[in-house]
């Protein structure tokens, strides 16, 4: 069976670990991958795709050496292989211009400011993963404990209508 990935990108190792710790519960059903650079994350995305796996969610920092989070997410957004992938920009330092780029060109789904709250990050991740599963037509029943009920309900109601 195909595996579903959650990819975290953050150049500061201790911050990366903190994000991973907060999202630990998802590891029962998803593969949570930690990357310290956009390059590393991109390599991972390529590999996932090559092996027939799917990327449900990317949580990326913005200010990183070499490629920024926004530039990386723009790259992801342009690639049709990841058209259903949900994108969160998690940052404490983005200029007005960066934010505009993130919305217009990277089509990010959520912007979370650092310092973040665990419940908030988990809640948003759940909702976005649920959206991803429904939109990609993946059988979501196997992931039930990790789904967002409200998103699911809304979807079912739309189906009925």
């Amino acid at each position: 069976m195909e595996r579903i990935f959650i990819v975290l990108v953050e150049d500061q190792r201790e911050v990366l670990r903190a994000i991973a710790n907060d999202l630990q519960d998802f590891e029962d059903a998803f593969v949570v991958e930690e990357c310290t650079s956009a390059d590393e994350a991109w390599e991972l995305l390529e590999k996932t795709d090559a092996e027939g796996d799917r990327v449900a969610l990317i949580v990326s920092d913005h200010v990183m050496p070499k490629e920024t989070g926004v530039d990386f997410l723009i790259r992801v957004n342009r690639d049709s292989r990841f058209k259903h992938t949900r994108k969160i920009l998690l940052t404490g330092l983005a200029t007005h211009q960066d934010t505009i780029q993130a919305i217009n060109r990277a089509a990010i789904h959520r912007y979370i400011e650092k310092p973040w709250k665990k419940e908030n990050l988990v809640q948003i991740s759940r909702a976005l993963i649920t959206e991803f599963l429904l939109e990609s037509g993946i059988d979501y029943t196997a992931f039930r404990p990790h789904l967002d009920q409200a998103t699911l309900l809304q979807y079912i109601q739309q189906m009925k209508a």
Binding site: D11, Q12, R13, E14, V15, E27, E33, E34, E40, L44
Partner: protein, 448 residues
């Protein structure tokens, strides 16, 4: 245009000099510091300055004389009292250097009043014009001096604010740092008899040694080798156990994995906290120094001593590095010790961090002194990764940091402060780098 007008006036003055101010009996010297005419006194003489200079003073509200006007060669003194009806001087003129003046008595004009007026009109207008220009210039200088003073005051206020802030923050950071230390020791004590003390201590001193890629590779390897769920393989990979240790764990069906992971994570977190506290302390110190109002006076110090002090302060960082200090003790400079120590600390820190990041097998730091007739050149050479061209361009910018490992302060505020300090002493800092050899050269003028 202006030059031409001045030239014409100069000719006018020459004519007037010959016609009105050439009587030798009416030419006399004024010593520097001597008063030519005083404010409020009767005066019916018009003075022409043949050579030298005078300063005009006006009394302020409190009766204190204030500089108001500078008079040079070919300018007139006593214009107002001479031409007005009251013949009372409104300014005091004191010679600032040996001066020679010629004068004209109001009652003994050598020509008719009409001719006199005709002759003097252009030079007097020029005199007024000149005085106005000088007064403008004078005002501008005063304005600039005031602005400088204002800026100095602002910096002093900022410095005080930074010092106050630094003090408060240092207390808070101190508590975090010592309590982290205490917690780490308590935990180590608690784990003394447990078999996982080694994992804890390794995590505490070395942190997470594997990067995310290596963890992933290790995870995938363990997953295959032991046929483990991915989540469990990842837990094992993160802790960075040897295969023997994993074998041990497997014997007990991984029962202790949760505990082990908690122990390793606690160690990583404590290490992060310790580094974060150190980082915060460094930032605070840098900010304080940036705004600091230098309170101590520069004094003769031995260059070598300042470097030795910096090496002492960075002892922990320098421990694994082989340092050769090739600076004779007799090289002296007139500086604030703290300034130079701050420069060396930042450069030493950068060098050590560069070598640490590159995992340089035999880290070396050479500190050498080269002497020129009027300069000292101190160079610090390390065998770390070197600085990329990209980084090189921005290296001295205040907000620039390489942020290599996140927690290390890297080249952040440090190098911009270094540059500022060195420039304060009219010195220069240059950098040359290739992989395996980076040299920062600090040049300081001996005469400062």
């Amino acid at each position: 245009m202006t030059a031409k007008r001045k030239l014409e006036v100069r000719e006018d003055i020459q004519q007037i000099k010959e016609k009105y101010f050439s009587d030798r009996a009416r030419i006399y010297p004024v010593q520097a510091g001597e008063c030519l005419i005083s404010e409020g006194e009767y005066n019916d003489r018009l003075y022409l300055i043949l050579e030298g200079a005078l300063t005009g003073y006006l009394k302020d509200d409190r009766g204190k004389p204030r500089e108001a006007l500078h008079i040079n060669q070919d300018m007139f003194v006593g214009v107002y009292s001479f031409f007005s009806n009251e013949h009372i001087s409104y300014m005091t003129f004191i010679a600032t250097q040996p001066t020679r003046v010629a004068y004209l008595d109001r009652d003994e004009l050598p020509t008719t009043p009409d001719q006199f007026a005709l002759d003097f009109l252009p030079v007097l207008i020029n005199e007024i014009y000149l005085r106005q220009v000088l007064s403008h210039q004078f005002n501008r200088e005063r304005h600039e001096a005031l602005k400088k003073l204002g800026e100095a005051e602002k910096m002093a206020t900022l410095g005080q604010l930074a010092a106050g802030l630094a003090h408060e923050l240092n207390n808070a950071i101190g508590i975090l740092e010592s309590n982290t230390q205490w917690l780490a020791e308590e935990l180590a004590g608690f784990l003394r008899d447990k078999k996982w003390l080694g994992v804890f201590e390794k995590g505490l001193t070395r942190g997470q040694e594997l990067d995310t890629k290596q963890v992933r590779a290790q995870r995938d390897r363990l997953e295959k080798k032991y046929r483990l769920p991915l989540k469990v393989a990842k837990q094992l990979a993160r802790i960075n156990l040897t295969d023997q240790e994993v074998d041990q764990l497997m014997k007990h069906d991984l029962k202790e994995l949760e505990t082990l992971e908690a122990v390793a994570n606690a160690a990583f977190v404590l290490r992060d906290m310790k580094l974060a506290a150190r980082h915060a302390a460094h930032v605070v110190r840098s900010v304080r120094d940036l705004g600091a109002n230098p309170s101590t006076e520069p004094a003769q110090v031995s260059l070598r001593e300042t470097i030795e002090e910096a090496l002492t302060l960075t002892k922990k960082l320098v421990e694994p590095v082989h340092v050769s200090l090739e600076v004779p003790a007799d090289a002296h400079l007139c500086v604030r010790t703290g300034d130079l120590v701050q420069v060396w600390i930042n450069l030493i820190k950068n060098a050590c961090e560069a070598m640490h990041v590159a995992r340089t097998a035999q880290p070396e730091l050479r500190i050498q002194l080269a002497e020129e007739s009027s300069w000292y050149h101190v160079s610090l050479t390390d065998n770390g990764i070197g600085i990329s061209d990209e980084v090189m361009k921005k290296i001295f910018e205040p907000s620039f940091t390489t942020k290599v490992s996140g927690l290390s302060f890297g080249l952040g505020l440090g190098l911009s402060i270094v540059k500022r300090i060195i420039e304060r002493y009219d010195g220069k800092i240059t950098v040359m780098s290739r992989p395996g050899q980076t040299t920062f050269k600090v040049s300081l003028p001996k005469s400062f």
